[in-house]
Symmetry: C2
Subunit: 447 residues, 2 copies
């Protein structure tokens, strides 16, 4: 099934992509804050955007652009200012940012997609951004993916990246991705962003459809605190530089590419959930037996989003009642006499009736999964309290080893398995526990 | 508009109702745990129940009963065991409880509605309950409303009750209510319950319709942690003992009664939100200018339920960005250029653009509202750490004064006003802040 392998390089792993990340002075902390991803040739471009009624200028810009155009050459992303709730001036700043990058790259206008993350209500520091662009462009490199991953974070504790390789038509095809997001740790510090690159040749409609379906199984199935941001956006470029036959219709090649794209998105989504504010573990909810995949996914998300379930996991409490309660209120019908709940290997409820189980052992399971995952996470932490140091300079691990550790950090979720009947529907969601630190991070802001 | 006055006595304020609350030994703490409300004559009965797929036996029992019957004589409620996820035996226990009360009251079977609250997965201690019924029945009194209010709480810090009086056809008509609920403070300790009594004469369909609409504006507009319980239920009895002309069709009398019913439900709902686990204040979100009342209510609820907004209020942070973000993701369309947000008297955003405001003063407003409300709450706290002491015995206030203090505790919400356009729709929701104590209460359970 998993017909691929992890490779190093994130968004620059696929052929024909270069990236860079620099400190342009947008963040007060002096941390990297400006990233650029460039395809050497015109790339098929697809996007998925926040459904919020309150949207940042960059979201409107990209949505409008991709309605009239199915390709792009680059993605420019700034951290520090979200450029949301900034009115007409915000849109002018967004356009100026995109045009500055296009000009420096020698590309026509409307070749560059843009994204912003940071404080809502603050305009991009446009002068600093424009001054930084020459350095950014001259720093572009086929090894620059990890620098870009670092330059898009805000208060994330770790960077999020992955690259996978498979064979299509006897040639290697790669998909790489980077993401950021950890809830809204700082005041107004919003945004989940993800950028995916691919060197397969694929038709625009197929690429957009694949991305939408992959999003439904990944980013749309994670929850940290239920708050959708003004800036959420996922952009994906496919440039065909692998020189594999173009994928233009459904079939085994398309399925293979979509499976790998989905895996990249799931890895990035899980990375975001694991780095949720104050989180001590990743929680995975797998639902089976529902009437449809959609219904199963909905139940999984409701459980993943339950503050009571999240608090119980933080307290290492195998509290099946809260899981049953959250499943029941998910808004999708099932017979409670068919409800079963397991936590790891412990069956807590079957046929709607609680079973006796070893509470101490089940509690230990919760503790152990958190410890295993945290051990790997500790090796990935950005290296200063302000997260302002350069990741690459202080990192003694190889990029590939780092990817493997990142996979390890996600390999020990608290697994909650829920059966709701004998239907064909199944779905998975991911979340994290709710700790004192969540409240601390979000409340302790001196006005 | 508010054509009524507060009177003492909660559910026994309306004519022809008696109530009692005793310690039957269902709770380990020795606190009151069994309540009974009885109408002297057959009363029109209406109910609103949890929409969860995982329901307690008592919910199924009452729903089935009220499908075949539009009247009842009594409501029996036990605290300590939720009787949810207890299978067929749970239903047998529920029937036995109802029948025992009916027998002791000399009533036919199916005259008594039942409700349970407490630990999910635990059956009612049926022997203790049945042994307690004679004492419960002999304790019935027209002053027993407050005792009943005390016997239905679980980990609530205060009881919730109200009674209002108005004139219909030149005669006084009263509606009284009691409620319990504070989130799921204890492990699996679920449930919002509310019981309303009324001495007006009203037709069954009208009473059910009124109750449904009142619920939509009250209990369905509060949120503590987003978790709907297995036992949520609101039961309302109207016995006609005021001897006012029967209200059988829409008209001024029906409107007056419904307005008072809605006010009773809103008071009880706000009381539950204010007593939300770990809460330090009540938050009221008022939305105007939406396309419909429904859309406005949805936006209000989304903001009230946002963990980020709740954390910010706890941190006394006038964080308009989080409010805008939550409003935007509520799932109802509006133009962000028409969004306005006020906090108390401070306008934070207008026409989609943030305004300069005095952050320190706005933060002080948050602090002050919490302090005012907490001062009143402190006078209402149940009087031992286990909340096991008898409320009435230790209470030096008169029941009416107590009602006035309870109203005072709700009179200083943190008020967030949101405009989303020029539509006719308006709606209000209530919630509470998210504090360290929420996590503490829900995580610190030794398995």
């Amino acid at each position: 099934m998993a017909d691929w392998q992890i490779v190093a390089g994130s968004v620059t792993a696929p052929k024909g992509f270069r990236a860079a990340g620099i400190t342009a002075g947008l963040k007060p902390s002096g941390a990297p804050d400006l990233a650029l991803i460039v395809s050497d040739s015109e790339a098929i471009a697809a996007g998925v955007f926040t459904t919020s009624q309150v949207r940042a200028a960059c979201v409107d810009y990209c949505q409008d652009l991709l309605e009239s155009k199915t390709s792009a050459r680059a993605i420019l992303c700034n951290a520090g200012q979200a450029n949301a709730c900034t009115g007409e001036q915000g849109m002018q700043d967004a356009i100026a940012s995109a045009n500055s990058a296009a000009k420096a790259l020698g590309l026509p206008e409307q070749s560059v997609l843009i994204a912003s993350t940071g404080v809502i209500g603050q305009r991009i520091k446009i002068d600093a951004l424009q001054s930084g662009i020459p350095q950014l462009v001259s720093g572009l490199s086929t090894e620059g993916g990890d620098r870009a991953a670092h330059a898009i974070v805000t208060t994330d504790l770790v960077t999020k990246s992955i690259a996978l390789e498979t064979q299509i038509g006897d040639r290697p095809v790669r998909i790489g991705g980077i993401a950021k997001g950890s809830g809204m740790i700082h005041p107004n510090m919003a945004t989940m962003l993800a950028f995916v690159t691919c060197d397969a040749a694929v038709s625009p409609q197929l690429w957009q459809d694949m991305l939408r379906r992959a999003t439904a199984k990944s980013f749309n199935q994670i929850t940290v605190d239920g708050d959708t941001s003004t800036n959420d956006c996922l952009l994906a470029l496919a440039n065909g530089e692998s020189r594999t036959p173009a994928i233009t219709t459904a079939g085994p090649e398309a399925d293979k590419l979509e499976a790998m794209l989905t895996e990249v998105c799931i890895h990035l989504a899980k990375s975001i959930a694991r780095d949720g504010e104050g989180a001590t573990c990743l929680i995975e909810i797998a639902v089976t037996g529902a009437m449809s995949d959609r219904a199963a996914g909905q139940i999984a998300r409701a459980v993943a989003g339950s503050s009571l379930v999240k608090s119980a996991v933080f307290g290492r409490d195998p509290n099946w009642g809260r899981i049953a309660g959250a499943a029941g209120r998910a808004g999708t019908p099932f017979e409670q006499s068919e409800l079963s709940i397991s936590l790891g290997d412990f069956t807590l409820m079957q046929a709607g009736t609680p079973l006796p189980f070893d509470r101490a052992a089940a509690s230990s399971y919760l503790k152990q999964q958190s410890e295993r995952s945290s051990k790997a996470m500790s090796k990935l932490l950005l290296t200063s309290t302000e997260q302002g140091n350069d990741l690459v300079a202080t990192d003694t691990q190889t990029p590939l080893r780092r990817q493997q550790i990142a996979a390890e950090a996600l390999a020990h979720p608290v697994l909650i398995t829920i059966g709701v009947g004998s239907g064909p529907g199944q779905g998975t969601a991911w979340g994290c526990d709710l700790s004192y630190d969540y409240v601390k991070i979000n409340a302790e802001y001196t006005t």
